[in-house]
């Protein structure tokens, strides 16, 4: 049984659909900007989603994260020809990756007289409002739920979707990485923890790194059991793994990261030498970058695969990060390049084959995409060109 990726949907600071996202990746453009509006409570460096208008009427009164998620789901649905070449009722599933997706809406309502809290918030305060809204808009009647894994949520959703297909519970699964819209309270918590880049810009794996730069975006992958419908696959989901560190803190662990990459490779039936590219978690948090660099060295040795971090272009999209990065990995596999890491001039580990300001043409074959979340949640997926066994 083979699970393939048949379509992508993307909305982020860099692009409002998957084809423009692919173009921006090839060009190595970054959407991270410094704000100059005098708002001292907002992160000074960020990749914000601006100029985006949701096209679907069901998103009319929805909070921004649902508008973004539905837009990506609708793009992927159309791109996968799920309207023109439908599956039987109940055979399409929907898994939304993300937790704590409603903090901004709750924050905005907190000052309100409680008698006038909009009744609609009883729906909007549920992360699962994503499931309800997207399923209604697209007519999805199979299984549906949210899964959370902090910054690894997107990969936990991809893994859950792949397992629904492998178990025979669905023929296709829309996997959505939901947008995190940080409220001022949530941004302050990250800042006060020292996790956010605040004083200066921060580039993953560069000696100047000083915390993560938040990004806003959502993405959707259509996963399908190969051979059920006659649609050309973009990539094959060759393997996946998740490992906990048994640690509630925000501390990364090289042992946990080595374990999860090794398990993902075993799940793909592949050796480290077959991996052409790693889409790193690479947030720009100094300890996280150093830990992941050490884990990559231990798994791959030298010279190892090409490595970059899509967060250098779109910021750290938190709940959505892993699905956006899976989409970026699929595009790079398909189009034969490894995108630039703009601003990476002084790498923390010269032994890693990190991309710098320019993209590398590359036939990747097999790629890993890492995502690690607070609370010791390590995830890794393996994606391959569809014609490789």
């Amino acid at each position: 049984m083979t699970v393939v990726v048949t379509a992508l949907g993307v909305v982020c600071a860099l692009a409002h659909d998957a084809p423009s996202f692919a173009q921006a990746l090839r060009e190595g453009r970054t959407a991270i900007t410094e704000r100059h509006d005098g708002d001292e409570d907002a992160p000074p460096f960020a990749a914000r989603l601006t100029g985006f208008e949701p096209s679907h009427p069901a998103a009319r009164r929805a909070p921004r994260p649902i508008q973004a998620a539905l837009t990506t789901a609708a793009e992927a649905w159309t791109s996968a020809s799920l309207d023109a070449d439908p599956l039987p009722p109940g055979r399409v599933a929907l898994v939304v990756g993300g937790n704590n997706l409603t903090g901004r809406t709750a924050y905005d309502l907190a000052a309100k007289n409680l008698a006038y809290v909009p009744p609609r918030f009883a729906l909007h305060m549920q992360d699962t409002d994503h499931v309800g809204t997207i399923s209604q808009a697209l007519g999805i009647t199979g299984e549906g739920f949210t899964v959370g894994g902090a910054s690894a949520s997107g990969n936990t959703a991809i893994i859950a979707g792949a397992r629904l297909i492998a178990a025979g519970a669905a023929d296709a699964c829309l996997v959505v990485g939901a947008m995190t819209d940080l409220s001022p309270v949530e941004a302050a918590a990250y800042r006060n923890l020292g996790a956010l880049a605040w004083e200066k810009p921060s580039v993953p794996f560069d000696r100047s790194h000083a915390g993560f730069v938040p990004g806003e975006g959502a993405a959707c992958l259509v996963l399908e059991r190969a051979g059920v419908r006659d649609v050309p696959p973009l990539a094959r989901l060759a393997g996946h793994a998740q490992r906990l560190d048994a640690n509630a803190l925000a501390d990364p662990s090289a042992d946990g990261e080595v374990a999860v990459m090794t398990a993902a490779l075993a799940s793909a039936g592949a050796t480290p030498a077959e991996v052409g590219y790693v889409n790193a978690h690479g947030t720009g948090a100094p300890r996280g970058d150093v830990t992941e660099a050490a884990a990559l060295r231990r798994v791959f040795g030298a010279p190892g695969p090409l490595v970059n971090s899509t967060k250098a272009l779109i910021g750290h999209c938190l709940s959505a990060a892993a699905v956006l990065e899976a989409a970026a990995t699929v595009i790079q596999l398909r189009d034969g390049f490894v995108h630039a890491t703009p601003g990476l001039n002084d790498p923390i580990d010269p032994s890693l084959r990190l991309t710098g300001p320019a993209a590398h043409p590359a036939w990747i074959g097999l790629a890993l995409s890492n995502s690690f979340g607070f609370g010791g949640i390590n995830t890794c997926i393996a994606l391959a060109t569809p014609d490789t066994a």
């Binding site: 009319r60 009164r61 007289n113 008698a115 006038y116 809290v117 909009p118 009744p119 609609r120 729906l123």
Partner: protein, 78 residues
Amino acid sequence: MDAEILALLRRTVVTVVPEIDATEVVPDARLADLGCNSIDRADIVTLVMEELGVQIPVGEFGGDHDVRSLVGLFGAYA
């Protein structure tokens, strides 16, 4: 019937469901027939209460109200 409350209700209906034409919000119309779902109707009622600065028990809105009786209910509390 209170013309100001009717005008407020019309504006609020269109704010919540922009597809509805304000001229359709007439005394004999029912919000459900105009295309407002249950959540739209609850939001409309809450927004009108907020605008009028009144609090009306939710149970009061339980019946099958037309626009005329809604305006009357708001008017009774305003």
